[in-house]
Symmetry: C2
Subunit: 271 residues, 2 copies
């Protein structure tokens, strides 16, 4: 059995820094890189990102939407990205934001977590609109596989406040209770996605005994200092993710590697 | 350009009845049907469901999770199901419950809505946890393609109440405003997923100028009478969906067809 995700993240962080490199091949990016906006372009994108990431970052986060828009050949490219990334010793945070009723969540969990999953990730994002209590299969499979379930609690976009403000505190509290049962005294397998911007009212992040994915550093406006401020109570538990701001340095592998290494060092110094 | 989805649903309803046949090939079902639980089994499942559905129901709803659990070959099977279903003149409600920030939603919308989408559906489900206001691309593409966006507002599972109770009324109100702008005086392209069970407080469904997907008739406990009671204010706008309770009649095509036809007649009489 794999070590718990929290231990694997801690090791990756110690070695490279906490940065998660977002692998988001949107159309304008592929064209700017001189690639075709199709499944073949996704495969070339993967090669470039992996060459730059290996030895530079400990985690890669592909956003499923950018692969789904090319249908099953896009998902085939995503599958290869996930497999080659893990083979290179890099943790994969698969950003799919799935979530449904319990029996459907069981099927999703089998798709993305644990041995035998066709796309086996180290961590996967989910949304809680149909309730955290319906996520039993996700939680169980993540726990058994040494993986991490990342529940969107407070997203980076301002439009999310309309729903999230009313429920985020209670959901984070539920995560803390789950982790207290699954990993007493430690960091549990249920994490949260929290935008790296201090918003009132502040959330009691440390009490959740959880890891946090903090997306959108750079292009979405958040700085490394914002990350440090938002997660000041538990800086060693945050996984800051940057996509567009780093990918803009490509397609040159060395330039992309340098951009990621520089940001990783900056985050390591602050967190 | 295709007619608006509301007009296409009204025509399908007049011809066959309002029933949506859920195409949910979960593992136990495939085994009960004597099929292998792999992409090949999904292809055979598709053949049987389509043979029974053609001439019997006006809408089919595949749940993406059951295809995703077989990776890209599963998505290839889903793609063929969607294409063949539409070719047979049956509307496809693709149950994917996607939802993210605006730029990612744009990629998802391109994956599932409108000309050129690799899996082009007539309607697609989304979840609003990151905000309805971030759904601009989904709404625009659905509107332009004569498709329908179905936002999960009140799900069938009790675990969903924890999040939904606080926000469902406001979200349904937003849907009503969108539809009033996009289809003044008519039924707009933004619909809602509403569990077919009367829950207090009741929602003002008629005011949303929307179609409603009412999932889980049968196996999840709701009866046709529950559907009629829940949507009494606008019975002609509800699309009741049944999956497991009907699929249990298979794999015999005639038995499956009879089960669907019987339920469709019962729903037609009540709604």
């Amino acid at each position: 059995m794999a070590d718990p995700f929290a231990a694997r993240f801690a090791a990756a962080r110690a070695r490279y820094g906490p940065l998660v490199l977002g692998a988001d091949p949107h159309g304008p990016l592929l064209r700017a890189w001189g690639l075709t906006d199709d499944a073949g372009g996704l495969e070339r994108f993967t090669d470039i990102v992996l060459a730059a990431a290996t030895g530079t970052v400990g985690l890669i986060k592909p956003q499923s939407a950018f692969y789904e828009r090319h249908g099953w050949p896009g998902i085939r490219a995503l599958t290869r990205l996930v497999e080659d990334t893990r083979e290179a010793g890099i943790l994969v945070v698969l950003d799919v934001k799935r979530g449904d009723v319990g029996s459907t969540n069981d099927a999703y969990a089998r798709a993305y977590l644990g041995d035998g999953a066709p796309i086996e990730a180290d961590a996967v994002t989910v949304h809680p609109y149909l309730g955290l209590a319906a996520m039993g299969s996700f939680v169980d499979r993540a726990d058994q596989a040494g993986a991490c379930l990342l529940v969107v609690i407070r997203s980076t976009n301002p439009e999310g406040r309309a729903v999230q403000a009313a429920v985020e505190r209670q959901l984070l509290d539920e995560i803390g209770k789950l982790n207290a049962t699954l990993a007493p005294g430690g960091i549990g397998p249920v994490g949260a996605v929290i935008g790296p911007a201090p918003i009132d009212p502040p959330l009691d992040l440390a009490a959740a005994s959880a890891l946090f994915l903090a997306p959108g550093v750079g292009a979405q406006g958040a700085t490394p200092d914002d990350v440090a401020r938002t997660f000041a109570a538990c800086p060693e538990r945050v996984m800051p993710s940057a996509s567009r701001s780093l990918l803009a340095a490509g397609p040159d592998v060395n330039a992309l590697r340098d951009a990621a290494a520089t940001l990783n060092q900056r985050l390591r110094a602050l967190l």
